[in-house]
């Protein structure tokens, strides 16, 4: 148990305790797991969008890594390996459950250093930037659905279109967002 005296109180931080991760080494699984489990979960969640799949996939990434990774190893290398494994596991997921042949190409967007900045703000900023680049009607349907939680029917009413048209509008807007992500934001 850590006593309060060991906690660093703001204003009296000791700078010599701050180390860059580039030169650091993971000595054991304890450090790999604690440092990365949340980041891996976030990484895969952002590609599948739901907690149940994200949990399965995060566990799979860790299990595959556990079986093959030799420690100690540099932090940078371990994280790059985890990301590479995550790409493979995600590609398998889309192939197995949605018959996707080319999901791997989409996943190449995941940068090798994806685990170094796992904060949610990245995903939020990315979505806002994408929305800003979309044409008005595409942006509107995605804002209503994803940011305000409208149902298709509520969004259709708001936009003055039929439910069927709202679904088509949503599909096209998501396609445009996917294209933009590949072309502009990478």
């Amino acid at each position: 148990m850590v006593s309060v005296t060991e906690l660093r109180v703001v204003g009296s931080a000791e700078p010599d305790d701050v180390r860059g991760t580039e030169a650091a080494v993971y000595p054991d699984w304890e450090s790999v797991y604690e440092d990365n489990v949340v980041g891996i979960y976030q990484l895969v969640f952002r590609k599948v969008g739901n907690a149940a799949d994200a949990e399965d996939l995060a566990a799979e990434v860790l299990m595959q890594t556990l079986k093959t990774l030799r420690l100690p190893a540099p932090v940078h290398n371990v994280r790059a390996y985890l990301v590479k494994t995550a790409r493979t596991v995600l590609a398998d997921h889309w192939r197995r459950y949605y018959a996707a042949k080319e999901a791997a190409a989409e996943l190449q967007q995941v940068p090798p250093d994806a685990l170094t900045s796992p904060r949610n703000s990245d995903a939020a900023e990315r979505a806002q930037r994408l929305l800003a680049l979309l044409p008005d009607h595409s942006r509107r349907i995605l804002e209503l659905r994803f940011l305000r939680g409208y149902s298709v029917r509520e969004a259709a009413d708001e936009l003055g279109v039929t439910e069927s048209n709202a679904r088509v509008l949503q599909f096209r807007a998501l396609r445009k967002a996917a294209d933009l992500e590949l072309e502009v934001l990478r």
């Binding site: 489990v37 979960y41 996707a100 080319e102 989409e106 979505a127 994803f146 298709v152 996917a178």
Partner: protein, 228 residues
């Protein structure tokens, strides 16, 4: 039943928005692209892509089971070490249950913009959402609330109502209010924030960022947050 790509993707999006595991189907490449974009959009909600304690517990149990099935792995990682590792990590990830978590999902159109107080989480488009009644939050108390889009902590400091993000800026663990200490504790790495969102202390290599403030107001007997 015949349905179009737009119908199938709409069903997928509905599942994501209702936090269900999506139904499986054979998708075209175009549909997969749209579905991946939808996953990215869902992840943009603050806190949406963070695991809860139960999920972390299950992940660690699966890893422990993998070791049981593969004794050869003991050459480079002992089961005892893994259990100790995951025991520590799981214990550190204990996430408190919010007081009367309030989930509102009003389909009302955006109200007047404003509220001020923060440039960090002030979205371009949003709405005032009620999250609790004033009577639920007496002076000197803080409570966690969720709008479905955001996890926040609302604070009544001597009658002044304010709100900050309820997610630690380090690794995204959910904060737990400590009214007696007038602070918000992160259960993961012994970090605490003041009611204003400023870091009080931490046990990390570097000081984490302050908590973003969330515009708040009292409207009638309701405390409202400005969220997307």
């Amino acid at each position: 039943m015949t349905d179009s790509p737009a119908d199938r993707v709409a069903r997928f999006v509905d599942d994501l928005l209702h936090r269900r595991r999506p139904r499986r189907f054979d998708a075209t490449q175009e549909e997969v692209e749209a579905m991946t974009a939808a996953a990215g959009m869902v992840s943009a909600r603050v806190g949406a892509d963070l695991p809860d304690k139960a999920a972390l517990d299950r992940i660690h149990r699966r890893l422990a089971a993998t070791l049981d099935e593969s004794p050869a792995l003991d050459r480079h990682v002992t089961r005892r070490m893994l259990l100790r590792t995951f025991g520590t990590a799981a214990a550190a990830m204990v996430i408190g249950v919010g007081l009367d978590e309030v989930v509102t999902r009003q389909g009302k159109p955006p109200a007047e913009a404003g509220g001020g107080g923060s440039t960090v989480l002030m979205p371009d488009a949003g709405a005032w959402r009620p999250v609790a009644s004033v009577t639920q939050l007496p002076a000197g108390h803080a409570m966690t609330v969720s709008t479905g889009a955001i996890d926040a902590v609302i604070v009544n400091d001597g009658g002044a109502i304010s709100a900050v993000s309820g997610i630690c800026t380090h690794l995204g663990c959910k904060l737990q209010p400590d009214d007696a200490g007038r602070k918000l504790d992160c259960p993961c790495h012994q970090t605490a924030f003041g009611w204003s969102g400023k870091v009080l202390y931490y046990r990390l290599k570097a000081e984490p960022a302050s908590l973003p403030q969330i515009p708040s107001r009292v409207n009638g007997d309701q405390i409202e947050l400005f969220v997307v």
